[in-house]
Amino acid sequence: MAIEIKSKIEDVRWPSGVRLPIMLTFEHQAGEGAPLFAGERPNYMVGGAMQYGARRGIWNILELLDQYRVKATFFVLGTTAEKYPETVQAAAKAGHEIAGMGYGFASVRTASEEQERSIVRRAAKVLQDIADVKIRGWRCPDYRVSPKTLDILAEEGLVWDSSLLNDDLPYLFDTGSRKIVEIPFTTSTADKTYVGYPYPQRGGPDGLSSVWNNELDVLYRESEKAPRLLSLSLQTWATGRPASLRVLGQLLDRLLGHEEFRFAQCSDVAGWRLNSAAP
């Protein structure tokens, strides 16, 4: 088996007074992830639906987050930053965390170490040049790590990764010489399942709303006894549509004004994880 991830399950301590941190993350791409038609012909169908995020969706999301004064994390594809620089600049300027998500949707799963490292460096440089940010975190765009991904990210000075889906809580990944925080995410509560073409649209905004409410109910109850984290992994092209944007607004209505919920960016969570490790 090429991948053996057996790192220990370690509990984390949140800052005092925080019962359940809420981590909103948005993947920001412009259709690069859509499969091309045979002969490398463009796919305006799927690709177009995803391009919506860069054209419109992210602006709708930024406006909503601003209204609620909530800070989130945006995973930005390097090519999307190049094509739509103003979207990334606006997100950074508003105080949202900008993290790397590769370049042009190239998969690193079977890439050489050299190729993978150059993708990380290129993506980091694009975001530095365009939005003046030094990225601290990463997600593989197709969620498929290579056996070297976490080592390379740690060596390149990144603090956290969020490409794995195997836990509810962040944990320390010891790559040998360095440590990096893994903040696992889930596609099970993903917006795209319920509201986004080309995925099966099951239940629409109402289905999405019930998924998020269920997730919150369960994690909130469990957080009475053990640390939990509500982490939603969303797409600017799916949640950014007006009908699903309303669902996000309704969730924020339910959460805001309660001290025990704390909106956190990925780097906050990574920092809390690192602090928890102190003896």
Binding site: R109, A190, N214
Partner: protein, 290 residues
């Protein structure tokens, strides 16, 4: 070779049992990871499934404890080796424990000697790590040989690998008998997940293809209602299959939680493990030609 005696229409459960529900947890975590086109395991699918042992199984265990539900845990040998603390907690809680192959092999693709070796290897893992001699077995992908091999080379008392019936059958051969307790996935919360998504292979169980919770709950309740109604006249059972990495996710676990709350309130609904179903079948079941 073996002979099958199917259940007779006069088959009955013991007095007072109107609808037995066998919550069957497939504790397999990452063992059935889908391969990429190059044959290597898909890291996305691997990681998503690994949630099963790290978190999902614990959550399912908690929900079953909360409702006082005893069920059957079908555990892969490799999962037990990698995450023994989960299986020990399952054992401690008193659930029926059964083997679910070693690493979720597709036995249908295996020659008999490999299948025998895997059955024996798995049985040995349970003895070594849990001190438990297992009496039950399920392979989701049975071969033509599975029942023969279990009869001849093991002392397994019940098998739950067949999808072709709704109540147990008696299987006789090689000088002994086992009960075949079939399963079905109409009530599988896993069906909240699209098994095949040709647009985005190969994560076939990729949990982003899921139905919303109200849809899942409606499906489970409607199956329950129909079986409970029929249970007044004839023997029925509800095999409720859940997977650690699917139903163990928070939002989906709530569906199971709500379904158990709903089903518990009806008289004659009994949550039980396959060991007890097998015992009842021997005591009050009737098999053979009508």
């Amino acid at each position: 070779m073996w002979n099958e005696k199917g259940y007779k229409r006069s088959f009955r459960w013991p007095q007072g049992v109107r609808l037995p529900i066998a919550v069957s947890v497939h504790h397999q975590s990452e063992e059935a990871t889908c391969p990429m086109p190059d044959g290597q395991p898909d890291p996305f699918d691997y990681s998503e499934r690994q949630y099963g042992a790290r978190r999902g199984a614990w959550r399912l265990l908690d929900i079953m404890a909360k409702h006082g539900v005893r069920g059957t845990w079908l555990i892969c040998g490799a999962t037990l080796e990698k995450y023994p603390e989960v299986s020990r907690a399952v054992q401690q809680a008193g659930h029926c424990i059964a083997g679910h192959t070693y690493a979720h092999e597709m036995m249908c693709n295996m020659p008999p000697h490999s299948e025998i070796a895997l059955i024996k290897k798995t049985v040995a893992v349970f003895e070594d790590l849990l001190g438990e001699h297992i009496h039950g077995w399920r392979t989701c992908f049975a071969s033509h040989n599975t029942l023969d091999l279990l009869l001849e080379h093991s002392d397994i008392e019940w098998d739950g690998s067949m999808w072709n019936d709704d109540l147990p059958s008696l299987i006789e051969g090689h000088g002994r008998e086992i009960l075949e307790i079939p399963f079905a996935t109409y009530s599988d919360t896993a069906l909240g997940v699209d098994i095949t998504n040709p647009a985005f292979p190969p994560s076939r169980f990729s949990t982003w293809n899921a139905n919303p919770p109200d849809f899942m709950l409606r499906g489970l309740k409607s199956a329950f209602d129909a079986l409970y109604e029929r249970g007044a006249q004839r023997a029925v059972m509800m095999p409720l299959v859940v997977h650690d990495f699917i139903t163990g996710r928070p939002f989906r676990s709530k569906v199971l939680d709500e379904f158990l709350t709903y089903a518990k309130q009806f008289d004659g609904v009994v949550f039980t493990g396959h060991d007890e179903l097998a015992r009842w079948s021997r005591e009050t079941g009737e098999f053979g030609k009508e």
